[in-house]
């Protein structure tokens, strides 16, 4: 794979439904009701049920592992949680778009990938970046 600064990762689009949030709650152990209970979410001032930030982070990470082809190549991964992803109670759910490009080539055959993660056109993660070992 020929990689240079500016190389773009294939764009990935994910759909997040309420069922996905319930499944992630069980798998991760994060049962905060704002991720599955509309009544609780609106009572604390949210527009509705929101996705776990860590679920959004995991999906965004899939754009990186799909590109490297090897999940073990991800050496470092960080995000700042900006805006919540509101997940409506319907079959379509919310859409998450992940774009990425190589921001820097580092030593030891590693590269830094900078991610842009949006939902409904708004950035939901900021400072989202991964350091990967190139094959």
């Amino acid at each position: 794979m020929s990689v240079e600064v500016g190389t773009e990762l294939p764009e990935q689009v994910f759909r997040i439904t309420r069922a996905d949030l319930v499944r992630y709650a069980g798998a991760s152990g994060d049962f905060n009701p704002i991720h599955w209970n509309e009544r609780v979410a609106t009572a604390v001032g949210l527009p509705g049920v929101i996705a776990h930030g860590m679920f959004t982070m995991a999906l965004a990470g899939r754009a990186v592992t799909a590109w490297t082809g090897d999940p073990a190549a991800v050496v470092e991964y960080q995000v700042r949680f900006g805006r919540p992803v509101v997940v409506p109670d319907d079959d379509e759910g919310a859409e998450l778009t992940v774009r990425g490009k190589v921001g820097a080539l580092l030593d030891d055959g590693r590269a830094r990938v900078d991610l842009t993660v949006t939902s409904e056109g708004e950035k939901v993660l900021s400072l989202a970046r991964a350091v990967v070992r190139l094959p």
């Binding site: 994910f14 996905d20 499944r23 992630y24 069980g26 798998a27 991760s28 152990g29 994060d30 930030g53 860590m54 679920f55 982070m57 995991a58 999906l59 990470g61 899939r62 990186v64 592992t65 090897d70 999940p71 073990a72 991800v74 050496v75 470092e76 991964y77 960080q78 995000v79 700042r80 949680f81 400072l127 991964a130």
Partner: protein
């Protein structure tokens, strides 16, 4: 309230051992839709050079977030749990987490400051095997929104 800078550097006793299971890795990988066979199939993982199935890059949170929350139960930290949101997360993988790992989490407060009425606390969780092999450094920034906070 204002976070006390004296908290920086405070460490908590190591957690109980968390034994990483193949079924838990498969459950997590399925929940995040990670399709790679190295998460699900021990033979595929071995063919890729791993002793057993490996976890997706954010799996460490299953262990680390609960470990980071020890700071919330520290009365001297005094963060209001009901106002806490997850601000930032970072994983530094020393090697992939894999089935069969027996991991111990040790939490340290790396930073504590108050900005615009919000308390920001950074908890670093070192995940290591029982034998002391470093596996993952998981750093969480927790934000407790103040009464006049803007977050």
């Amino acid at each position: 309230m204002t976070l006390d800078r004296e908290l920086v550097g405070r460490s908590y006793p190591p957690s109980a051992v968390y034994e990483v299971g193949r079924a838990k890795i498969a459950e997590f990988a399925t929940a995040v839709g990670a399709p790679d066979p190295v998460h699900l199939d021990a033979d595929a993982a071995r063919a890729a050079g791993h002793p057993d199935v490996i976890a997706p890059p954010t799996f460490a949170v299953v262990i680390s977030l609960e470990a980071a929350f020890v700071v919330l139960s520290d009365p001297e930290v005094g963060l209001d749990y009901s106002r806490v949101v997850h601000g930032e997360q970072r994983f530094l993988h020393h090697r992939p987490i894999r089935a069969g790992d027996r991991l111990v989490a040790t939490t340290t407060i790396d930073a504590a400051r108050t900005v615009a009425g919000n308390d920001l606390l950074t908890a670093r969780v070192e995940l290591a095997t029982e034998d002391g092999e470093a596996v993952c450094t998981a750093t969480s920034m927790l934000v407790a929104r103040g009464e006049q906070g803007t977050t």
